[in-house]
């Protein structure tokens, strides 16, 4: 591995990249934008907007021509690893293939250029799409009432906990605590605080399940909600979920379902049937909205009848031409409501008990278009297959890692069948081979594979959370298992290689501590 331990020669693509910022490229007088001609009288600006309200100096934006902008961002893109380039088993993030069709349909002018304040009569297609998506999500979750408004998972969580608050207040109850397991994703506790509740942590038992006794003890009358992820962030399904629901409901609290792991159970079982009152979906995970390097996403919520009155405003509703909102929820076949006049779609703002808006307009509609297209493509059988293959791939990869002897140094956190993802612990590897989970992750980069989620969940030492997703081939899983084994062998011979990794990337390990100590978060111009 001699080349890895020295400065690597750059590829022809890297060599083309001068690594400047767009501001570095700026040169006074250059331009990409040409304004449309001024077609109204050219009045002196001072007459329109007094000087003291105006900027003394133009903002120092870059001055560059179109070719330079295109090359700049094209080169930047080549410093990113992406899903269309290789395997991306980032646990808890469901990095499944993003169908190209979705970008095409989302770009149709009828969707892309529709103004959010267009009157409902002139936005029937958009409202119908949202209504159909609500319906499908209600069916998938087993909770009939859906709001698409939240902008991402954590926004959905916030909505969900605020719904709980409204529900209890409506009953004249003032509850102060929310429970989450110690395996919970960071957004859960953060949401609890942001919604004005006190967090109480529940332990995890020897099998990786919620410690039901601990839950029983902590489920008191002042508890408003239990937030749960099922399968959990350990990739394990809670076998005692029914008992958990009984306990939580027993004290009058609500049961909240973090939908980030929904990809494991679509068409197999439903949160609503498990007793959950509120669910959020991550459309950018289970329903394949591209992640965009950190968004956009969407975090719709589905709720039970008792929570429904409090859903955010406005709600998309289907009305029989003329009538008020109808709750009837049989699944409509495509184009059915096209029968002119029979139905119409509307925004219902008249919701006296609603918690109100969480954001502007009707949510991330462009994301809804993609997720609706995905549901149309797969249908009921396809959605079930997604979850079956997601779970099959995860268990197969775990089995292959075992075959390759990887688990000797990277034992699985809980010895049982997993769902769509599983957790390994790098603790023995650290002791025996002298490389940390972080080192293994960085070494994977040199091999053109994106590392799994690392150091989460927190309760597993040196954790690696691996989620292959259903869209990967068996060949890819086999290669990954072999690759991990090779890296462990390499570490057994010379741990320095992994400790110094990566070598094949545009930059090597970055000094994050220094970045936080003296933050440089903008360029001085």
């Amino acid at each position: 591995m001699s080349t890895t331990t020295q400065q690597r020669a750059r590829s022809f693509i890297e060599a083309a990249d001068d690594e400047l910022t767009i501001f570095d490229r700026s040169k006074p007088g250059r331009r990409a934008f040409v304004p449309p001609p001024l077609d109204v009288p050219e009045r002196p600006l001072d007459e329109l907007i007094p000087a003291e309200l105006r900027r003394p100096e133009p903002a120092r934006l870059p001055e560059v021509s179109e070719p330079e902008i295109v090359r700049h961002y094209n080169r930047l893109s080549k410093r990113n690893f992406d899903l269309d380039t290789g395997f991306y088993p980032l646990g808890s993030c469901t990095m499944k293939h993003n169908p190209k069709l979705h970008e095409r349909v989302a770009a149709l002018p009828g969707h892309a250029r529709l103004h959010p304040l267009q009157r409902p009569a002139a936005a029937q297609g958009a409202l119908e799409l949202m209504w159909r998506l609500q319906h499908a999500l209600g069916e998938i979750s087993g909770l009939p009432h859906v709001s698409l408004q939240p902008s991402a998972g954590s926004h959905g969580e916030l909505a969900g906990v605020l719904l709980t608050r409204a529900y209890h207040e409506d009953r004249g109850e003032h509850r102060t605590k929310v429970l989450t397991p110690d395996t919970a994703h960071g957004t859960n506790p953060a949401t609890v605080t942001m919604a004005g509740y006190e967090l109480v942590k529940i332990g995890t038992d020897a099998y990786g399940n919620v410690d039901v006794e601990d839950l029983r003890a902590k489920a008191t009358e002042d508890v408003a909600c239990l937030m749960l992820t099922n399968p959990s962030t350990l990739g394990l399904f809670e076998p005692q979920i029914e008992e958990i629901a009984r306990i939580v409901h027993g004290v009058g609290a609500t049961l909240y379902y973090d939908g980030a792991n929904l990809n494991a159970i679509m068409g197999i079982c439903r949160p609503g049937d498990m007793g959950f009152d509120i669910v959020h979906f991550n459309l950018h995970k289970s329903f394949t909205q591209p992640h965009g390097g950190g968004g956009p996403g969407a975090g719709p919520i589905a709720v039970s009848d008792r929570i429904e009155p409090f859903l955010p405003r406005p709600q998309v509703v289907r009305r029989r031409a003329g009538d008020v909102a109808e709750s009837e929820s049989r699944h409509p076949s495509y184009g059915e409501v096209d029968t002119p006049g029979e139905f119409c779609f509307d925004l219902d703002h008249e919701r006296p008990k609603s918690i109100g808006r969480l954001r502007g307009f009707q949510g991330n509609y462009g994301v809804f278009v993609r997720s609706y297209a995905y549901i149309c493509s797969l249908g009921a059988p396809g959605l079930r297959e997604v979850s079956e293959v997601a779970v099959l791939n995860a268990n197969y990869l775990l089995a292959r890692l075992r075959e390759e002897g990887v688990l000797e140094h990277l034992p699985v956190a809980y010895e049982r069948l997993c769902m769509h993802e599983f957790v390994l612990s790098g603790a023995p590897m650290k002791r025996e081979l002298g490389i940390k989970t972080l080192d293994l992750a960085k070494r994977l980069l040199d091999h053109g594979v994106h590392p799994p989620t690392v150091y989460f969940p927190l309760i597993v030492e040196e954790a690696l959370l691996i989620e292959p997703t259903e869209t990967e081939t068996r060949e890819t899983l086999d290669r990954f298992a072999v690759l991990i084994a090779e890296i462990l062998r390499e570490a057994a011979e010379d741990p320095e290689i992994a400790r110094g990794a990566p070598y094949a990337t545009p930059v090597r390990r970055l000094d994050e501590a220094a970045a936080a100590r003296r933050p440089v978060v903008r360029q001085e111009l």
Partner: protein
């Protein structure tokens, strides 16, 4: 097999054998049988790609978009022209498909773009620190309120009625969780008037908009003065294109500047996804929500970028985090910096001036119609409110019939008319004529 999965029958059998189970069902052994679905979900079967395209096209055709009518709708989102290079860049899979950059060594492209974006937002807002994006405009106002709460722990927000109603409502929704009050102060001749309000110890922040909901350009300094006198923070929700021409709020002492980023290279998309921008003073950095890209060096001393100041965030601080935000709007913010690079230093000013001139022309032209008056006399830049004596229903109906959407009716007798670089003088004149006909 779906077209997105690859498990052949051979694969299936060999994979099950490797796992050591007899069937896929066995893999779900942990799911209590009572919970297993008997039949399939009550959804249709899957469709071929061309059928799905047909269905989405059918729905698109049932919308009247800005492609189908001349629209003067605005009120927070605007029918702006998105240059083709923005699409060309944000549709590159290297930007479109990665996750949040948790592995900086293979995410330098996205991280540098965030750093460039932050620099541009800092320039526009006049504040030293911008994050890498939040969800969108109105929720950004609510998020800013949370920063104020964390900062001074006071119990009341004083909000100008000029702030977007969706923003006021989003703040109110969240404030309930914080047990805080939201007091709305009315506008006088289109401008925020604090004279009536007593700004006491309990005021956490004064929240205003620039330009405000009625399109009026506000005079910020007196508001900042009053608020700071009460040791309250000032939060301003600003229109980014207007900032091409207007004094940077940060330069006037505003503590937090947020806003809706749609006009920066993002489509209307019936309201989203777009992005919210969020910038603060140095004092507030450690309470800033969301991702922040920072510059640093690698082992070899090479310049690079990472997500920084993460000790604010949920994945590190959990219940002590300054926000619960995780996935934000990175791709939309990328469109933002690409768009701003396309506009450029002079272009930004040229565009804002074009809007200011067309908007002034439109307000004069329309308010000169008998029965139509300008809702206020403040300067306007991209939008303005009109009051109608006559029958506004008739006016709207008449315009619609002619394929013109006259604007957003936000009150029985009031209309908000938005002007963009796409709305020509000819279109403005024909709107005027339509209104004249309707009122005649």
């Amino acid at each position: 097999m779906t077209r997105y999965t690859s498990v052949t029958d051979d694969d299936l059998h060999e994979m099950l054998a490797t796992i050591g189970v007899a069937s896929v069902d066995e893999l779900f052994a942990d799911v209590p049988s009572a919970l297993r679905l008997e039949g399939p979900l009550a959804l249709e079967d899957g469709l071929s790609e061309q059928e799905v395209y047909g269905e989405l096209q059918r729905l698109a055709s049932r919308n009247v978009s800005a492609e189908d009518e001349v629209t003067f709708l605005g009120a927070g989102m605007y029918d702006t022209y998105v240059p083709a290079l923005v699409d060309a860049i944000i549709t590159r899979s290297e930007f479109l498909t990665p996750y949040t950059p948790y592995q900086p060594e293979v995410s330098q492209g996205g991280l540098q773009a965030m750093f460039e974006y932050q620099t541009a937002i800092s320039e526009l807002t006049g504040l030293p620190v911008s994050n890498a994006s939040v969800y969108e405009g109105p929720s950004a106002v609510a998020a800013a309120g949370y920063v104020a709460k964390l900062h001074n722990g006071r119990r009341r927000f004083v909000v100008s009625a000029g702030v977007h109603p969706h923003a006021i409502e989003a703040l109110t929704t969240l404030a309930r969780g914080w047990e805080m009050e939201v007091e709305v102060v009315a506008l006088v001749d289109g401008a925020t008037d604090l004279s009536g309000v007593e700004l006491g110890e309990d005021v956490s922040a004064v929240i205003v908009a620039q330009p405000n909901f009625l399109g009026a350009v506000e005079r910020l300094d007196p508001l900042v003065q009053a608020a700071h006198d009460a040791a309250a923070l000032v939060i301003c929700s600003a229109d980014p294109i207007s900032l091409g021409l207007l004094q940077a709020p940060g330069a006037q002492g505003v503590d937090i500047v947020v806003g809706e980023g749609q006009t920066l290279g993002n489509r209307l998309d019936f309201g989203g996804p777009s992005f919210g921008f969020f910038a603060v003073t140095d004092e507030l950095v450690r309470r800033l929500p969301g991702r922040i890209a920072g510059q640093t060096h690698d082992l070899d001393g090479r310049l690079g970028y990472v997500l920084t100041l993460q000790t604010r965030e949920q994945h590190i601080r959990r219940e002590k985090a300054t926000s619960n935000i995780c996935t934000a709007q990175a791709l939309n913010a990328l469109a933002g910096i690409v768009y701003l690079s396309w506009l450029g230093r002079r272009g930004m000013v040229e565009l804002a001036e074009l809007l200011a001139r067309r908007t002034a022309y439109a307000r004069e032209r329309l308010s000169s119609i008998p029965g139509v008056t300008a809702a206020h006399s403040r300067p306007v830049l991209r939008e303005f409110a009109l009051r109608f004596d006559g029958d506004l229903d008739a006016v709207i109906a008449h315009c619609m019939a002619a394929g013109v959407n006259p604007g957003y009716r936000f009150a029985d007798d009031q209309l908000l008319v938005a002007i963009t670089e796409r709305r020509t003088r000819t279109q403005i004149d024909s709107l005027a004529e339509l209104i004249e006909e309707a009122l005649a």
